[in-house]
């Protein structure tokens, strides 16, 4: 009797395993970039924040908390509080403007929508430097804004509108607005038009519908947009430096002064670490707020 050789087994390939390999391969490059360009600098910053400050802009590696103790200085705390107030104010106003703008754009005819989106995208090509100096011209004593206010009788004598808190706030809102409209556009365009109509047939006024139905449904994107603005503006440097008074200066300018003027790199690093930590905390708070109580459609 001859043994019949068993058929060679065809190697079985697990599709799930293949998917994992492909996924890992695709994620490897972004993960590498994230590590090299974000985590490594952050680690170096952290290390520097615990270093000992020597005279002449020098520092020696150490593990001391001296720089963090300096953060309890009332002046720094005041600047930090102001920075967050400015950033949160900018977030609230820009989201309040961007949400209805995105809503109305998303309800326009397709062609008008595309025109608006192209216009908004094109405004992103303007650098912050250009915008800030344009605002300087616009708000100057001989600028268009002052002339317009005088023509309307809202200003008795021509004087520059900057440096001022209002100028800083207005410029920051202008800078972030196109980003926020574009950020909210996808979420808003997916809103079912029947939902506000349903609220209306149940006796709700347009304002009540917006407050109790529309806004809560897009609470997540609204909070994310607000958080994005806070992240962008809390460390803003150029706008308050050019358009603000020293009391309107932010934590970004404080860090720059510590590093460039005083030459205290460990203090600047500690201030930066504190800023990042506060932002991480804010991120967690926003995540919790947007997740709690919300129900998937």
């Amino acid at each position: 009797m001859t043994d019949i050789p068993a058929e060679p087994k065809v190697a079985e390939v697990d599709p799930a395993r293949t998917d994992n390999v492909v996924l890992t391969g695709l994620l490897a490059l972004p993960a590498l970039f994230l590590t090299v360009l974000s985590l490594v600098p952050l680690f170096l910053l952290l290390q520097l924040s615990f270093a000992h400050h020597d005279e002449g802009g020098l520092w020696t590696p150490s593990l001391e908390l001296t720089q963090y103790a300096k953060l309890l200085n009332p002046l720094f705390l005041k600047v930090a509080a102001f920075s967050f107030t400015l950033a949160i104010g900018t977030a609230v106003v820009s989201v309040a403007i961007a949400f209805p703008a995105a809503y109305f754009i998303s309800r326009m005819r397709r062609r008008a929508q595309v025109t608006w989106l192209v216009f908004l995208l094109s405004t992103l090509s303007l650098s912050e430097v250009l915008i800030v100096f344009s605002f300087q011209v616009l708000l100057s004593g001989s600028g268009a804004m002052v002339k317009a206010l005088m023509a309307l009788g809202l200003m008795s004598s021509a004087h520059s509108l900057y440096p001022s808190f209002g100028a800083v706030q207005a410029c920051l809102i202008y800078v972030v607005l196109p980003y926020i409209i574009l950020f909210l556009y996808p979420a808003v365009s997916q809103l079912d038009d029947d939902i506000p109509a349903a609220a209306s047939t149940m006796g709700a006024s347009p304002v009540w519908t917006f407050l109790t139905v529309t806004a809560p449904i897009v609470r997540g994107p609204l909070l994310s947009a607000g958080l994005l603005v806070v992240i962008w503006t809390v460390g803003t440097y150029l706008t308050p430096l050019v358009l603000g008074r020293p009391q309107n200066w932010t934590i970004g300018i404080q860090i720059s002064n510590a590093a460039m003027t005083t030459g205290d790199l460990p203090l600047a690093a500690a201030q930066a670490v504190a800023l990042v930590s506060l932002m991480v905390g804010l991120l967690g708070l926003t995540r919790w707020l947007s997740g709690s109580g919300s129900v998937e459609p």
Binding site: T201, G203, W208, E296
Partner: protein
């Protein structure tokens, strides 16, 4: 009039007239279906009734009071949308209580009403559920309960069953009809499903090209369609080109046929003869009577409960549906003799 009255309502979007001079009277407590193909203006008409669109022309009155310019949040007609439009951030109970809060009902009254409505739609103890946790049929019922919460004078439903599977759709149709009969509420249902309209409505308004083509009871529309559009849209119809000889006689090819008496159209004009497939009787050559035409069988389809016989009659395609017990067993190529009963032959404008 006690009920809803629509008079000469027109609505245009740009150059397109979505609703064109529509007039309709709906008595209190009646269940009406707006039936028509996509784009015929039925949803626009319903949205105007709800107050979500403003008519370009014409008036809408409720119990004799003009409500044409009244906004939706003042009319408060309960409406179930095609997408259901449940509020995803609210629970089932909160969805139902939305209108009750606006009415100023206190927590105890709201709770009682929520329980009552959830029992009515057979969803007891679902108050705390999130909308996302419900099945399609349950969502449907919550949407109905929410629309009924404010005790609306008119109940509007815009293709509410279109997203449901066939079995659930039939169940929901029966439930809704029973509910409407129990509450005796004036109800308007928009649908493109003629079976749904036929099985649920007291009356049907068949819509086409922004106009009401015919309004009447389901059976009367089925038996006596007013025009070719209705004959084609409601069930299957054989439409044959004929020449009118007098009010009761037409010529179809070489055949002279007697038809149901009609005041229109006038003699010697071209018209269309409409007859339902189930009204055509297939007879043997020896049983020939009046109104019989000879046709060639082109195709036979045995559906089990019925037999579909496709025929070529004087160059026109004809369909006859017969009971299996009445079927002679002829095949394609055979000659069949069709009897077209006079009272089932309707003459429509060409």
């Amino acid at each position: 009039m006690f009920g809803l009255e629509i008079t000469g309502v027109t609505k245009a979007f740009g150059a397109h007239k979505a609703v064109d001079d529509v007039s309709l009277a709906i008595p209190q407590g009646e269940f009406v279906c707006f039936l028509g193909p996509s784009g015929c203006g039925k949803t626009t008409l319903m949205r105007m009734i709800a107050g979500l669109e403003t008519p370009g022309d014409g008036t809408i009155s409720l119990n004799g009071r003009d409500i044409t310019r009244q906004p939706a949040n003042v009319r408060k007609f309960g409406m179930v949308f095609q997408s259901l439009a449940l509020f995803p951030h609210l629970t089932v109970g909160e969805n139902i209580a939305f209108s009750l809060r606006l009415q100023g009902k206190d927590a105890r009254q709201r709770k009682a009403r929520i329980e009552e409505l959830l029992n009515l739609v057979r969803l007891p103890d679902m108050e705390k559920r999130a909308v996302s946790q419900l099945s399609g049929g349950q969502r449907q019922r919550v949407a109905i309960a929410r629309a009924l919460a404010q005790e609306p004078p008119i109940f509007l439903l815009d293709e509410p069953f279109s997203a449901l599977d066939a079995k659930l759709r039939e169940e929901m149709q029966i439930e809704l009809r029973l509910l409407q009969k129990r509450l005796k509420i004036t109800t308007i249902l928009v649908t493109h499903d003629q079976r749904e309209a036929m099985s649920m409505a007291d009356t049907i308004a068949v819509m086409g090209e922004g106009k009401i083509q015919q309004h009447g009871g389901p059976l009367s529309i089925y038996r006596a369609p007013a025009n070719k559009f209705v004959a084609n849209f409601i069930g299957l119809s054989n439409l044959l080109p004929v020449e009118v000889l007098d009010r009761e006689t037409v010529r179809f090819g070489a055949n002279i046929l007697k038809v149901a008496s009609t005041p229109e159209p006038s003699a010697s004009t071209q018209a269309t003869l409409s007859i339902r497939p189930e009204d055509i009787q297939i007879t043997s050559a020896s049983q020939q009577q009046d109104n019989t035409v000879a046709c060639k069988i082109t195709f036979v389809r045995d559906m089990g409960s019925s037999v579909e016989v496709h025929l070529d009659c004087e160059g026109a395609d004809l369909l006859s549906v017969v009971q299996p017990r009445d079927w002679t067993g002829a095949g394609a190529g055979d000659i069949a003799h069709l009897r077209l009963p006079q009272n089932q032959c309707r003459v429509l404008a060409a």
